[in-house]
């Protein structure tokens, strides 16, 4: 692979969009305040100066209509990248995402594809409270016809966006807002990160921690702490929640015999429930030496007060404790 340099997660996404706009006339960006404002999180930045308002399209505050326009444009030859200003606002557009984008190909018997990319700035930790902090990826992960990814690094943020643009079907990209400023090595030039493939971020022998998005970084920190206690943690970054990389997870669990799932979405009926069930329904179940543990978001809206907000999603000490307990046989 070509040389890398340090870019922030937001810069990496912008670079991918810049490349796509430069390479392919069919690519357009759509969203609220993505033009001269640069996007609420400055992800599109100055791209409007380079490509003009005809291709970096500020939409009115019309999430349902805007998403539907992106779907219709994708059905007829464009390659729209639609940005929801906050993932929460996608609730206004569920009709177009779930009933149209996801189903058009199937219900029309395969005669039309919907190559739309939608980006969802998600997650808590910014003090934005209940309607600007949700992790709703599991909602969309439940819908056949969609692909749902959650990049955790700048490198994957670029690679998964370019993969999404190459994909003929609707791809939903959940970007954690806290990650936007995080820096990391990003290869120059064009590359794609395969959709549907998890990454082992840290190899370990004693316990498997399957994490998504920001939780991958928290799990890696927890793993360092536990290494000092002689607990060897394997951290898997799921990266895609639909379709899920079954083999990477099962192989790891067969090796370690223990599984902790860490995700920011509400725990009940969340991503960890699916990962757990996938293991429980497979031969990897026979390798388990302890019950599976899930750490997910609390059963409440995301609160405003900083201490309450932290308490509403798994934190590093929670992961350390749960992982230690499972290894020490205290679960």
């Amino acid at each position: 692979m070509s040389a890398t340099r340090e870019l922030s997660y937001a810069e990496a996404i912008r670079e991918a969009m810049d490349m796509a706009l430069g390479e392919d006339e069919r690519v357009v960006l759509m969203g609220e305040d993505i033009g001269v404002y640069g996007g609420a999180f400055q992800v599109s930045g100055d791209l409007v100066d380079k490509y003009g308002e005809e291709r970096v399209i500020d939409t009115p505050i019309s999430e349902l209509g805007g998403a539907g326009v992106a779907v219709g444009a994708a059905m007829t030859g464009l390659r729209p990248i639609f940005e929801f200003q906050f993932a929460d606002f996608a609730a206004l557009a569920m009709e177009q995402i779930v009933n149209q984008a996801a189903k058009v190909r199937y219900m029309l018997g395969g005669s039309v594809s919907v190559p739309v990319v939608m980006r969802f700035p998600a997650g808590s930790g910014t003090g934005a409270a209940a309607q600007h902090s949700q992790s709703i990826e599991a909602w969309l992960g439940h819908v056949p016809g969609l692909k749902v990814v959650q990049p955790s690094t700048p490198e994957d943020a670029k690679g998964l966006l370019l993969a999404a643009l190459d994909d003929p079907d609707p791809v939903m990209i959940f970007e954690h807002k806290v990650l936007y400023k995080m820096k990391g090595p990003v290869p120059e030039g064009r590359y794609t990160t395969p959709i549907g493939r998890a990454a082992i971020r840290r190899a370990g022998a004693d316990v498997t921690v399957v994490a998504t998005s920001l939780m991958v970084h928290k799990a890696l920190s927890a793993a360092e702490t536990l290494a000092a206690e002689d607990i060897d943690v394997e951290v898997i970054d799921l990266r895609t929640i639909r379709p899920m990389d079954r083999e990477t997870v099962l192989e790891s669990v067969r090796k370690t015999g223990r599984l902790v799932c860490v995700y920011e979405g509400v725990k009940t009926l969340g991503v960890g429930a699916e990962v757990s069930a996938m293991v429980a329904e497979s031969d990897a179940f026979d390798f388990l030496d302890a019950p599976i543990v899930r750490l997910g978001g609390a059963e409440c809206p995301i609160p405003y007060n900083p201490e309450l907000e932290k308490a509403a999603v798994p934190q590093i000490p929670d992961i350390v404790e749960a992982t230690r307990d499972i290894v020490r046989g205290r679960v």
Binding site: S62, G65, G72, A73, Q100, G109, S111
Partner: protein, 337 residues
């Protein structure tokens, strides 16, 4: 009266379209009517499962709207969309095959009555969600503008859809971006059982165009020529780059909303009154009057269409059933390396 005077006073359709195109339009009206009657009969006989929404009585609206369109102009359609499909050139046997759930149907038996699409004829598909197709039509118009295809998109929807948020958001975006789209609201008086009068604050849906700075007209939706004239003007405007228009096509569905309808929200008299304004003989009379067809030719067209529908049903029924092993096919596009 000399010939030139007749021509100048003739309805728009007579002046604007060739005799062949006009005969074809009449033929399509019969095809829609008899297609719906055939579908209804098949349903009653238990040959078709699920439900369906018939457009009997609304044929002029479908045919008049599609008359000014070129093959590569696009449409989006609705749950009451069989007429739109036929208007845009769909094959009735393939439509019946879809109703019978056959692999040979338009959607390989996966969509049924509410999802027939025919991209080769510019038909982006019917939609089971009220107003679901409206933003999609605007997206298709965005593609047409960006890609410079010269296509116009016609977006069909019903009076019920005019109270959905998607309608308002879509008209606004189409207007601010000056997109080549024509919004055709088929106002048949009822969103299921709720009358337009009870559900809509304005008297005429066409007046809602003013909120989005586009022309809005209300036309007699049972008059092919009146509908075609309004759509023609709107498509010309769209092709000039002057943006969208809203057309309200006033019509009536003779049958209930769907197969579960007990017709308790309207009177027999009201239905009879609209049946007296049957759009098909009305258009046939105009064509006879202007020497486009003879009465004998109309009778022959009528009889031919009966035969055609019977044959379409017979051939559709013998089509192959989908393979249950292919249940998951087309959830995602199969990418060939």
């Amino acid at each position: 009266m000399d010939v030139e005077t007749v021509t100048a006073n003739a309805p728009f359709a007579i002046r604007a379209y060739s005799p062949e195109a006009l005969r074809h339009a009449l033929k399509k009206m019969y095809l829609i009517r008899k297609f719906e009657e055939g579908a209804e009969e098949c349903y009653t006989r238990g040959l078709i499962h699920g439900t369906m929404h018939l457009c009997i009585g609304q044929e002029a609206s479908s045919v008049g709207t599609c008359l000014p369109l070129a093959d590569d102009d696009r449409i989006t359609s609705t749950h009451r969309g069989h007429g739109h499909c036929i208007g845009k050139g769909a094959d009735v046997a393939q439509m019946f095959a879809e109703f019978f759930g056959k692999e040979s149907g338009y959607c390989r038996g996966r969509g049924g009555s509410m999802h027939i699409a025919d991209p080769s004829k510019g038909n982006l598909g019917a939609n089971g969600i009220v107003a679901g197709g409206i933003p999609i039509a605007v997206g298709a118009a965005l593609s047409a503008k960006r890609l410079g295809t010269g296509e116009v998109v016609v977006c069909f929807f019903g009076d019920g859809a005019n109270n959905e948020g998607a309608f308002h958001e879509s008209l606004n975006m189409a207007a601010i971006w000056s997109l080549p789209v024509v919004f055709v609201c088929e106002n048949n008086g009822y969103g299921m059982s709720t009358s337009t009068r009870r559900a809509t604050a304005v008297e005429s849906i066409a007046t809602r165009a003013a909120s989005y700075a586009m022309p809005g007209v209300s036309v007699d939706g049972n008059d092919v020529s009146a509908v075609a004239e309004a759509v023609h003007e709107a498509t010309e405007r769209a092709r000039r780059g002057d943006g969208p228009s809203l057309i309200e096509s006033m019509t009536y569905r003779w049958r209930g909303h769907s197969k579960s309808d007990r017709n308790r929200y309207r009177t027999k008299e009201e239905i009879a009154e609209w049946q007296a304004r049957d759009p098909i003989p009305r258009f046939a009379e105009v064509l006879v009057e202007h020497g486009i067809v003879t009465e004998e030719e109309v009778a022959a067209l009528d009889a031919d269409t009966d035969r055609e529908i019977a044959e379409a049903i017979a051939s559709a029924r013998t089509g192959p059933d989908p393979d249950v092993g292919e249940l998951l096919r087309d959830v995602y596009t199969e990418v060939t390396a």
